[in-house]
Symmetry: none
Subunit: 227 residues, 4 copies
DNA sequence: AATGAATGAGGGTTCATTCAT
DNA sequence: AATGAATGAACCCTCATTCAT
């Protein structure tokens, strides 16, 4: 006996009879999120052009067609994925508010937090890769990353340095105008990890500590600074 | 002076008018180089997968087929291009030999030279982009870049720091063990330029100076270091 | 009844008018078979290299891409096609079992059956063409044909001749050692048809009868055999 | 100093000074022949479509361009090659005139000669392959082969059989009308060799002898023919 | 909602043919 | 006469996208 032609070939009858674990509604609500996560993995691993929509679907054990139910084109999916990944990453603002101690201590802690959330966080690191790789294709992408990650950190850094200079704890110097250099080792670690792909792991934390020590106290013997 | 399109392809008229400058042999000898240069531009701009061999050819006003006379596959072309671009870039070794002054001065000069040749040199910068973007695809590529650019610079840096520590000019500290952090601002500038694509130009030189000043003398007031 | 080109691709009108006979599933199940058949026609007509995958597709009113849904490469398609065509061709074994009469009669009937299934069967004949044309490319192809067609026939022939010699019905002679020559006219007819392409049709059956008569009774007058 | 424009870039100055072994004229006269021979080898080995003009040139250690000096297109080259190979093959007519002995003996000798010149001659055998493989493409090719090889042999065979029947040496039978079947084993051996590609060599001569014996004296015991 | 068969627009690569040297 | 760089038309194969089920 064949199914009547008018009847939709409802493949979900199991669900309706209580066999389900997750309701259809739940599933549907979760789908976009799942797809964005899968897209992140694939795009990060292979880049935009080399990633096939089917690869993303397969990762979720669904089919291409389903992806297109939620995102109209590969391009849109990529952008949404980027925005999603950038947004879902850890939020620095609360951490920044909790800093205690001298300016130097707070700068140090801020840098370490930023490091943990950037160079040491795989997701954020891969977003950096995509920004570099596909940056020319999607300028807004870069701006998005900048606004969410970099700008707040730099703002906090700038504020801290200003405060320190005012209180006399920190030197008033050209460096005070470009506090971004304080964070340069974060980028360095991230870049290294992106390129070495774990073939030559480095101790990022140690490198951060070294850099912080350096930018705080300088390489040159203080006596030498008399001149 | 461009050739008129309708011109009969008389084999001699060009010669007779002195228009001909490049003989066939010359042209052929130059072709591989030209193609590698064009490939560099295209691959750097769009990445491996998104670049069409035809784009590379069109840039030289030749056809796809001609490219394949010199390189057997797109993949080989990419690798050769990378090697070529990496090799043809400026050589630091001579510059390193000419450094004069105190250790601090020489470190400063070395960093500025490295900056000029890396973050401030478009070619090298784009190689960094490719290393990040396609690094997973071609680990050797990254190693190639590392050996040619980074290793020598770091070696020189390490030697200078050691010398300075020995002579007492520089502090003996954890930082002395990881001299790479001295160069972190180079990576930072490079990364910034790769991502902003000149939409938000930065004064790389000033940033370098700031960073060098910082890592040399520290952000913290020297009096605070007595402890 | 063909579909009008301008017809809106309304998903239901065909069903409602009873035009739809093949469901999607049926169609899919049939596709590999259809493609193999179409491939047979094209490859047989033009040879491997000169056949375009698109030709095969067009024959089925589908597109190239669809062919690649079922066969990964042109090469695999060719091999599968060959195997399919060889396997699907008539099976001699049952026919061989039904032979009755004297050895001479059974040999005669066997040869005629083999003729019908080989030289007189277009499919088998074209497989012979492919074996000759592309044999160097694919030795296994030839072996495949040999095992399926030739070996069984020769085995039966050998058995019959042995039986006849034992019973005294047939001459014991060098010919008894190489019963394959009994079947040579089959090859001859097949070769002729492959080359003349029906421009000069021959009466294969008559030729077979002549040959069988000859190999049975000899061209030479029996009295002349005294010498 | 560059060559004057009017002077032909004579690369053969060595020849003119007596360095040569073969004069340019000789060379030129031989070229078409050489190319046809090389074309035969390549086309026979790979078929028309799969053979590249460059393969043919390389075999002669010349370049593609040179081939095009003598033959306007690949297609023409193929046809000329076929005609050349067919023509240059051994001529049966003289051999046929030398036959001596009874009709049976002369038929036997004729078949053996035809075998030597056809199934046992690599060149002729490969022409058979091409006729089968590309026959549909070029009907004239097949006719060419037919006229040169098959027709004369069959004519001689027919004449001999007629003569034998008239003189009473040979049976008057249906077989006398289709003397081609006498030659069927030649085709059989040729076909076998073309397909097995020497992987399973057969003793063609023995097979020929068997077949001749069979068609002459029959497989059935002469006593059985009394009935 | 989900599927996956089908499409068709390319992109990589090959190769017959041309032509300046 | 000979070369071989260059061309451009195909051909194989892939994949984003659609749509009937």
């Amino acid at each position: 006996m064949r199914l009547a032609a008018g009847q939709p070939n409802n493949s979900n009858w199991m669900i309706e009879r209580g066999v389900k674990k997750t309701s259809r509604a739940e599933r549907k609500a979760r789908r976009p999120h799942e797809i964005l996560e899968a897209a992140f993995e694939e795009f990060a691993a292979k880049g935009y052009a080399a990633t096939r929509v089917e690869d993303i679907a397969t990762r979720l054990r669904i089919t291409k067609g389903t992806v297109y139910l939620y995102f109209p084109t590969k391009d849109v999916l990529f952008q949404e994925m980027f925005r999603h990944a950038a947004t879902s990453s850890a939020d620095l603002s609360t951490a920044i508010g909790c800093l205690r101690g001298s300016c130097a201590e707070r700068i140090r802690d801020l840098l370490l937090i930023a490091y943990e959330n950037t160079a040491n966080d795989r997701k954020t690191r891969e977003l950096l890769r995509l920004s570099v790789a596909e940056g020319a294709r999607l300028p807004e992408m870069v701006d998005c990353r900048h606004e969410l990650f970099i700008a707040p950190t730099l703002a906090a850094l700038t504020a801290l340095v200003k405060e320190g200079v005012k209180s006399g704890e920190l030197r008033q110097d050209t460096a005070a105008d470009t506090p971004d250099v304080l964070a340069s080792s974060i980028v360095q670690v991230a870049a290294w990890r992106l390129m070495s792909a774990d073939r030559e792991p480095i101790d990022g934390k140690a490198l951060m500590e070294s850099h912080i020590d350096l930018v705080m106290h300088g390489l040159v013997q203080p006596s030498g600074r008399m001149a």
